[in-house]
Subunit: 142 residues, 2 copies
């Protein structure tokens, strides 16, 4: 059966209810995929990581990103693929923006743990904001 | 808590028991991530798709691939990231190789449906063989 294209509203609904996705980056045309938790809000994806490591190196050298989210089960799948540009920041302002969005979207952090504003301030945390420039979605059977 | 590095044996075990992963490709340094089913056998990943579409275009122009597999739950995650080079083929020989591997690994196809040798011959199917050149794995808590 041919996969069905999802509408922008259906894509946004999948992004809104998902907590994990896979970030795709590229450097010197070598692709890199890594699972990350995220929040979708106002047309942007918000992620966070430490300030070091391979993904930060890749995104610093080439901000083009693909972020992919899916719902897979035994015989059905739906997948949303977003494309955008990464902005990295370790500033308190970016941390607070993410903190506010976690509150607004009722995403209370990983594993149900609460976010604490003071703790966020002290964390070695890099905020990833990806403004979605293009988005496609499909659903089908395997 | 700092993530723990997985041994090559632990990575192979995760690949062996998984059915779905995310393929990362890149063209002109624009990353692309797409979910695909796969089988891991003898140090290679075997995937299949139709002969057209974005992923075939990307892999034809740039065979460098990253294939990522993970087990995510509420507060624990493990992830295996493999790097390799894609070989695409629509030849019957490649189709039969994949067919044999599906039998050997007892992966009977998607959603439990049986593979039929004659049906495979007639299918518009491109076989993806990715020889893994590098592999890393980690597990941790969110």
């Amino acid at each position: 059966m041919k996969p069905r294209e999802l509408s922008p509203q259906e894509c946004a609904a999948i992004l809104s209810k998902s907590k994990y996705g896979r970030l795709g980056l590229s450097m010197n045309d070598r692709p890199y995929v890594v699972p990350m938790s995220f929040v979708y809000f106002g047309g942007k994806l918000y992620l966070h990581s430490s300030g070091r490591g391979k993904k930060v190196e890749f995104a610093t050298k080439n901000p083009h990103a693909c972020f992919q989210v899916d719902l897979l089960d035994k015989n059905r799948w739906s997948s949303v693929i977003t494309y955008g540009t990464v902005k990295l920041s370790a500033e308190m302002e970016a941390k607070l923006r993410m903190f506010d969005i976690f509150i607004k979207t009722e995403m209370e952090g990983h594993g149900g743990k609460q976010f604490d504003r003071d703790a966020v301030d002290k964390m070695d945390m890099t905020i990833w904001e990806i403004e979605i420039k293009e988005m496609t979605g499909r659903e089908g059977i395997w």
